[in-house]
Amino acid sequence: MRLNCPICGERDRREFYYKGDAVELDRPDPNAGSEAWDDYLHNRDNPAGETRDLWHHESGCGAWLVVTRNTLTHEVLRCELAGANTQ
């Protein structure tokens, strides 16, 4: 598996660390209520198909990436910076 890091270019999977569902980027409001926070903290989908995950390019540029891939075909559809490139 290879991921196309927007900073470094296409790299081998072993340079990356897998974090989990990219839902972590959508942090609810502190007052959103226990149901929203329960969802955010504990409940994850296990989709057969497109999934958005957070990956860390730990051996490369150190950027956090949102990788969209298909769990059925193993196709990597998109690979984007999770944060803004501040320069």
Binding site: G9, R14, E15, N85
Partner: protein, 180 residues
């Protein structure tokens, strides 16, 4: 205070020649990590340009010879061989004792590196002045092309012995096969 004796990271380990590959340690002098603050990239680049003639490098690029600057991750670069000027728009950290840098030179240098670095380092793709943060063996590190048959590897100082060990193994493997 006692007078401290500087000890290079690869003391007792390098230089070494294995087959046609020469491995030696490089003392680049002071090393400073420069990380421009949000929006501070161009101001930082301007100061560097006035001081050294090169600006802040774009991703995967290294500039200058001595002193030089190498991109070192997202919005980060290592300035080597000169004291860091005042950069009000950037975080600057002295990491002179934090890194070990070794130079690999020889006709088979790409074959040796192919065993430890998982990226394409062939000349048409990875030209002089190109640098990359990547794996060196099992370690996070950086590789920079310095010439046709010359590369520099950067790894954490505490891992200097591991770095030399990995390179020795790779170089021995390549030289054993090429002598058959």
């Amino acid at each position: 205070m006692a007078k401290l004796i500087p000890s290079p990271p690869c003391a007792g380990l390098l230089p070494k020649t294995i087959g046609s590959l020469a491995i030696r340690e490089v003392d680049v002098g002071p090393i400073t990590l420069i990380a421009p603050f949000s929006g501070g990239g161009s101001a930082t680049s301007d100061v560097l340009k006035a001081e050294f003639g090169f600006g802040f490098p774009s991703p995967n690029r290294a500039l200058g010879e001595n002193p030089r600057i190498a991109w070192f991750g997202l919005n980060q670069a290592l300035l080597m061989g000169a004291a860091c000027p005042a950069l009000p728009q950037a975080a600057c950290v002295d990491q002179s004792d934090g890194w070990v840098i070794v130079c690999l030179e020889g006709a088979k240098v790409q074959d040796v590196l192919a065993r430890v670095v998982p990226i394409d380092l062939r000349a048409p793709v990875f030209k002089q002045g190109h640098t990359a943060r990547t794996l060196v063996g099992h370690m996070h590190g950086a590789v920079t092309r310095m010439g046709d048959q010359r590369f520099e590897l950067t790894a954490m100082r505490s891992m200097a012995a591991t770095l030399v060990h990995e390179l020795e193994r790779a170089a021995l493997g390549v030289s054993a096969r090429s002598s058959q």
